[in-house]
Amino acid sequence: MSAGENAVIVDLADGDVRAANTRLQEKNGSEDTEFYKVRNPRGVHALACGLDAPVSVEIEGSTGYYCAGMNKHADVTVLGNAGQGVAENMMSGRIHVKGDCSQAAGATAHGGLLVVDGNAAARCGISLKGADIVVKGDIGHMSCFMAQAGRVVVLGNAGAALGDSLYEARIYIRGTVESLGADCVEKEMGDSHRAELRDLLDAAGCQEVPLDGFRRYGSARTLYHFQTDNVGAY
């Protein structure tokens, strides 16, 4: 959906987040579309949370914690930066942050796509459960910690302890990785991985970005089962 002439304006100049969210959620449970522009977001928390309809929301500035959390079906664009936990527990839909994200972007998200044009701070994709994340800049330390399913693509660098205690999420990094977390290893890039990486980049608007230089990381699966050698530790 494109920005239409008939956008519904939701103004947060009065700081009433509950009223703004009630307005944004008015199509919830339906298949109705609508285009909302949120003015004066002023960094408030929990903005555009709990959307459950194929609506589009454009937020004209920076947001606080948990922006667009629990999103289903909606397409949310943040024209500034997003605070901690953007797209937390997203189920479906698409969230696009034009600036940077704070910690825990996309935490526990089950489905949908999170695109970050800038950098994402620590713990990006922590406990990811099936969503896709594409970060055009860097990601911070402890990213993808215990990530269970889903894909994470980073065009820049990854901070320390990437993918610690990783389950089955797949991670593609083009830049450097400061260090790998426990049980996270580099894996071979097969044709299927190159195809899925291409799809993810295209979905994030990175059609011009070549696949050269990307490396794939995943779980070594050595922490999945109890090792009898460790019995003495208990």
Partner: protein, 301 residues
Amino acid sequence: MCGIVGLYLKNEALQPQLGALFSPLLIEMTDRGPDSAGIAVFRNATAAGQTKLTLFHPDAGYGWPGLADRLAAAFEATTTLEHHDSHVVLVTNAPADLAADWISAQDEQLQIMSRGSAIEIYKETGLADDILARFDVPGMAGTHAVGHTRMATESAVTTDGSHPFSTGADLCLVHNGSLSNHNRLRARLAKEDGIQCRTQNDTEVAAAFISSRLAKGRSLHQALDDCIGALDGFYTFVAGTRDGFAVLRDPIACKPAVLAETEDYVAFASEYRALVSLPGVADAKVWEPEPAIVYSWGDKT
């Protein structure tokens, strides 16, 4: 939780508005720390040979003019007093260390909140907007200020336990987090550096550690760098000296922090929403300070 904020003006033309620009930052952080609030403001630097002290006494009727007169007589010195609610700012040309010792000996409830040439510290239990108004902060001119809204974890909700903490001339520290090795460090600072902390608060120990490093000739930037190895626990720090302003987060970046910089100012807050009232912040460079990296501004940092 706690909220911390700071505003360091790069453009001298904004100095008359320091308090007006700073106050909304602290008020926005009220829900991160409704127990108490405090600020350190750097302004009206004294002439050479003079010392400025911010003093507090819990008795609203305490005889400040009498104290000033006795100090003047004891040291054959000049004194001026400026009242701000429960605090006073006393400027004297008496020798700084001797005057501080003399004041501390007058009344055990009398407390020196800060001493130096430019620093003033005001802190109380209660909500930020009330406290800012009580101390006339919105009308204050100055060069830089740091503030804190407290949700107490490590020590009691008292004026004493409120931030900022000052443990050396023109130094202040505010802290969001909790330190886990402060008792051992407090004892070490007392034994090795002769620095006595007044309270049981963990942040005062961190301030004392920074003071001990400054006393050894380290810059503010270097002293905060030294914190990374010496302090264990969670912390986002904002520290101020007469000419300097610095920020540090612990190595795992447990506590939130946002910096905004324009040609006119550097602003810090626990959350971005506290910065939105600043002029030009929409076009500022806004970023999260990296873990275990010291960011500093000013001549002597």
